[in-house]
């Protein structure tokens, strides 16, 4: 595998509410910031991958407009996932393994405060068996909290849901020597993996996350001590599940950025976790960090990225 590192990261401030600009307007300065930090331009990027959700923008294919922020002329090589930006980062990491290009631009944007995210997320479940129940994300998360209480892993039965926010984030990846040219302390991706569990909350033990555990093991979390872990725990109790799945002890600082509960811009929050975890290495504050992203009910799908100085 080719060595790939995060060399730059930029994000909007946490907790943005009621943003009036478009996704593109929010992204443009963020992409500028990420590029400026390492002194390159859009022309220097070999591959672009972005993430968003049509339902947040309220229009199909809405992400196409955000490409305006990448200066896509002459035409660029780009791709898109309708998942959290963390998975766009994964696609860019895979692409960089080929060896023909050395830099990739990853970004995500979404306005979660324009609509009711509980309604939007309630249509992400099985349309035949779960949607007719009007299962909403808070209720589904409540099932997991109850499972944790029943398993003796949690005491507090008050569900603490996230504060949805508007946001955008941008990460620049670079490979090999190019990464060393661009920054003094690249956050090298030592391992990255993502897994998914079965969809229906009733068929698995909600007090654990097999997919997070497998992804963490494949990414090599336990190979050395972890200084900082940015966990995409939208609900407070999800942190309990993730710490256990990833084997994180008390010597790891969890979510110094404030985490996804304090500010949860859907489709961006996971990429922000990866970016923040990388940032602590870029700034010289940490040597080994974990960035995590999740999707689906009760941590159904998990991505784990281990980064080292």
């Amino acid at each position: 595998m080719r060595d790939v590192a995060v060399v730059s990261f930029a994000r909007t401030e946490p907790g943005l509410q009621g943003v009036q600009e478009s996704d593109t307007q929010l992204l443009f300065p963020i992409i500028n910031e990420a590029l400026d930090r390492i002194g390159i331009t859009r022309k220097d990027i070999g591959f672009t991958c972005s993430a968003s959700c049509d339902y947040l923008a309220g229009a199909p294919f809405a992400f196409v407009q955000t490409l305006e922020a990448t200066g896509a002329w002459p035409p660029i090589s780009e791709s898109h996932v309708e998942m959290d930006g963390a998975w766009a980062l994964y696609e860019a990491w895979v692409r960089l393994q080929h060896g023909d290009i050395d830099t990739a631009l990853v970004f995500a944007a979404g306005m979660s405060t324009r609509g009711d995210m509980r309604e939007v997320l309630s249509i992400s479940y099985d349309p035949y068996y779960l949607m007719p129940l009007w299962l909403d994300p808070d209720s589904v998360a409540g099932l997991q909290l109850q499972a944790l209480i029943d398993a003796g892993k949690a005491n507090d039965d008050v569900l603490k849901p996230p504060t949805y926010a508007d946001g955008a984030a941008c990460v620049i990846l670079a490979a090999g020597d190019r990464a060393k040219q661009l920054t003094d302390r690249p956050a090298w991706i030592a391992g990255i993996d993502h897994r998914v569990d079965a969809h229906y909350p009733g068929v698995r033990d909600l007090s654990v996350s097999d997919s997070a555990r497998i992804a963490g093991a494949q990414a090599g979390v336990d190979k050395a001590p972890v200084d900082v872990a940015e966990l995409h725990a939208s609900y407070a109790h999800e942190e309990i599940v993730l710490r256990e799945a990833l084997g994180l002890g008390d010597d790891t600082t969890i979510n110094p950025s404030g985490g996804a509960r304090a500010s949860n811009p859907l489709m961006v929050a996971g990429l922000i976790r990866l970016g923040e975890a990388a940032n602590t290495i870029l700034s010289g504050d940490a040597k080994r960090t974990v960035g995590h992203a999740s999707s689906g009910p009760c941590l159904q799908q998990n991505l784990v990225c281990v980064m080292e100085a």
Binding site: D54, P60, E82, M83, Y90, R95, H98, S124, A198
Partner: protein, 109 residues
């Protein structure tokens, strides 16, 4: 880069209306036919890449979450590509990258 080959394909029976199965049934029919064509079983697959655009067509957000079971993805990775109208092609491209980069060996897409 590793050489990458398509070793099996399957499609659903094309008809104006398929009211005999669900969304999950639809993808599973195509996937099972592809596995049969490749003379493989679900256990041989490392990762699943699904392309779907746009979400509002069926009113299911992030359908890969729901379809993971039908595509035998539990315990594996599932990835959802959405590049608007080009998604049919770009999904195959992304899936091929997973193999050509050496990250995965056998991908169902």
């Amino acid at each position: 880069m590793n050489r990458t080959a398509v070793i099996g394909c399957g499609q659903t029976h094309h008809k104006k209306v398929r009211d005999d199965l669900s969304m999950a049934g639809l993808v599973r029919e195509a996937a099972e036919r592809a596995l049969e064509d490749a003379e493989m079983s679900w256990g041989d697959i490392d990762a699943v890449v699904i392309g779907k655009a746009p979400d509002p067509f069926e009113g299911v957000m992030m359908p890969e979450i729901y379809l993971a079971d039908a595509l035998g993805a539990a315990g594996k990775s599932i990835f959802r590509v959405h590049t608007a109208g080009s998604v049919g092609g770009s999904t195959a491209v992304v899936a091929s990258h997973l193999v050509s980069s050496g990250v995965k060996e056998r991908v169902l897409t």
